[in-house]
């Protein structure tokens, strides 16, 4: 039997019996993904689009009910663009730019994310996580129809695993009883309490924060503007913080800090929650509770994200506080990073060492997320008198002094990670090249005559040649590479020049399949490009 651990919002992959279950010997699959949350499904879509056969096993048959993540960052949307599922997200999502910070009843300052011009995607959208997951699965269904080798098995619960020298054996429970299968590679995307991690006896270390937060997603007809509002010590939640944020479908996310010593059952009673909500939005505003929960959080990570043929991604590998929206957004960067590396090894004969760089780069990214989200937690939940003293000093000052604004920390919003120091990074040989697109960084978008730049990059290695000569078809390379040629004439706004050229008149960028810069030069040099690619895929690939 497969236990039902949570209610589903959408039933997307109902259980169906498959031939593997009756096979006399366990069937071998190239890649098995445990867990069909946003990260597992995102990875399946990426691998399937690259022609890597993959199988997703999820112990439920659809998307979990209740909104967890609501803020999705531009980089996530860019990744989803590459995967082909960003349009419905942005169409459905709520775009917001203004944030207001209150203390007691007074607004102490406001900010505008002021997204830079010339990007296809907004800085952030708010969208309930179930929709985010649904749109990924819908794109998987379209890709399957077009022949992508992706399979999803609902109500398939992984109950045991055993890692052998060159494969992994899995024990899976289903409504028709257990069966076994084998995987060349296993990716555990089974969430923060990862059963795979537990089965392998691996640690998940970090800090637990002693605080509780109540989430109330409510439906109301009120003319609140589409802004993020954050309160320190408001009259309706004395001594604590609160957050109000808009979601699609007329739903608002209310988040109340409750403190550590609470009566959980009492706080979750609908009457008690409604009382809190009314105190916040006004007694005369009618509303309906859509989803409520109390969460505590921790900032934890595994020591290593690769263990032989087993990889960990998303919350299974690392968990952060929700402040800053770094959970799912960080996990989607894992997908972005692992997808092409697995594909390069499985389909194109790249060295196994490339897979080690998944741990190297994404652990670096996760530590950045943990650092930022822990700092926010320290601001919101002072742990000793000094924390309180300086937090209050910052809030005292910020009402009158703009300089104190950067110290107010109600969440440092997710940014794409730049893999500075990665072993995959090649030469940075563009004189005084713009720092934002140095090797390791995710390419900045730019509007061109031919459409947005990012729509032309990714999926494969790409040589971006800006007013530089590149011969067609780089002979002798077994790595498939696209060449994108652009010139100053395509760059009416000057964004490309500002973001990629600096004072140079030409540039050649080697861009990885995940749209991160691998190396850059002023002019094309076949040998240097080949060397950089070899550094990444290893061997004598070129």
């Amino acid at each position: 039997m497969v236990a039902v651990r949570y209610q589903t919002a959408f039933k997307l992959y109902p259980y169906e019996k498959v031939a593997d279950q009756d096979a006399p010997t366990p069937k071998r699959h190239p890649v098995v993904i445990v867990g069909g949350g946003p990260i597992g499904m995102g990875l399946a879509l990426d691998l399937g689009k690259k022609g890597v056969p993959c199988l997703v096993l999820d112990d439920h048959d659809g998307v979990g009910m209740g909104s967890r993540a609501i803020c999705f960052a531009k980089r996530t949307l860019e990744i989803c663009d590459r995967l082909g599922c960003a349009d419905p997200m942005v169409d459905k999502g709520v775009i917001w730019n203004v944030g207001r910070v209150y203390r007691d009843e007074r607004e102490v300052y406001n900010f505008n994310l002021l997204p830079e011009e010339g990007h296809k995607r907004p800085a952030f959208i708010n969208l309930q996580q179930p929709y985010f997951e649904q749109f990924i699965v819908e794109e998987i269904r379209r890709q399957q129809a077009a022949g992508a080798p992706i399979e999803i098995r609902g109500q398939n619960c992984v109950t045991a695993m055993d890692q052998k020298a060159d494969h992994v054996v899995l024990e899976i429970d289903t409504p028709d009883g257990p069966y076994q299968l084998e995987a060349d590679y296993l990716v555990a995307c089974d969430g923060a309490s990862s059963p795979t991690r537990a089965m392998m006896g691996l640690d998940f270390d970090g800090r637990v924060f002693e605080d509780n937060f109540l989430i109330a997603d409510i439906k109301m007809k009120a003319d609140f503007p589409v802004e993020r509002r954050f309160w320190f010590d408001p009259p309706f939640n004395r001594g604590e913080t609160a957050l109000l944020h808009k979601q699609p479908d007329g739903v608002w996310r209310l988040d109340f800090q409750l403190g550590w010593d609470i009566d959980r059952a009492a706080e979750l009673k609908p009457d008690r929650i409604s009382e809190r909500v009314s105190a916040m939005i006004g007694a005369d505003v009618e509303f309906e509770l859509v989803w409520t929960s109390i969460y505590t959080f921790r900032c934890c990570t595994m020591e290593k994200y690769r263990h032989g043929r087993v990889f960990f991604a998303g919350d299974a590998a690392h968990q952060v506080s929700p402040f800053g929206a770094r959970g799912a957004n960080g996990g989607m960067q894992d997908v972005d990073n692992l997808g092409w590396k697995l594909a390069a090894v499985i389909n194109d004969g790249a060295d196994d060492a490339l897979l080690d760089s998944y741990h190297e780069e994404r652990k670096y990214g996760a530590m950045e997320n943990i650092k930022n989200s822990s700092r926010t937690a320290d601001f919101l939940t002072p742990r000793n008198p000094a924390h309180t003293l300086f937090r209050d000093a910052v809030l005292d000052l910020v009402e009158h002094q703009d300089f104190a604004r950067p110290l107010v920390n109600s969440g440092r919003l997710s940014e794409p990670c730049t893999y500075d120091g990665s072993t995959l990074n090649g030469e940075d040989a563009l004189p005084d090249g713009p720092a934002r697109n140095r090797p390791g960084s995710a390419c900045s978008d730019a509007p061109l005559a031919s459409g947005h730049l990012l729509d032309q990059l990714g999926g494969r290695f790409t040589l971006l040649a800006i007013d530089a000569d590149v011969p067609a078809g780089l002979a002798g390379s077994k790595v498939k590479m696209d060449v994108v040629k652009v010139s100053a004439g395509d760059d009416a706004t000057g964004a490309l020049a500002e973001r990629y050229l600096g004072a140079n008149t030409s540039a050649v960028y080697l861009i990885r399949p995940d749209q991160h810069v691998a190396a850059r030069w002023e002019v094309f040099d076949a040998e240097k490009v080949a060397k950089s690619i070899q550094r990444i895929v290893g061997g004598t690939a070129c």
Binding site: L389, F390, D392, A393, V394, D396, L397, Q401, F403, A404, L407
Partner: protein, 70 residues
């Protein structure tokens, strides 16, 4: 160019500064004094800005503790 923490005497009018500091604390209870000092640190830190200098200042201040705490 690496900026360095100024540890040689640098006050324009040391006695006047010290008097102003004491005067600012006049009539405050202990919590208010702590709060004032915390705000003052933040104002000065912003003026300095340079992270290396600020960290050096924290180290100097910690090292001068008479109770020899870490």
């Amino acid at each position: 160019m690496l900026s360095q923490l100024q540890t040689a005497p640098n006050f324009e009018k040391a006695d006047d500064f010290y008097a102003a500091l004491l005067a600012a604390h006049e009539g405050l209870d202990e919590a208010q004094m702590h709060a004032l000092n915390a705000r003052l640190i933040l104002v000065l830190a912003n003026h300095i800005g340079d992270q290396a200098v600020l960290e050096a200042a924290i180290t100097v201040a910690k090292g001068a503790s008479t109770t020899r705490q870490m």
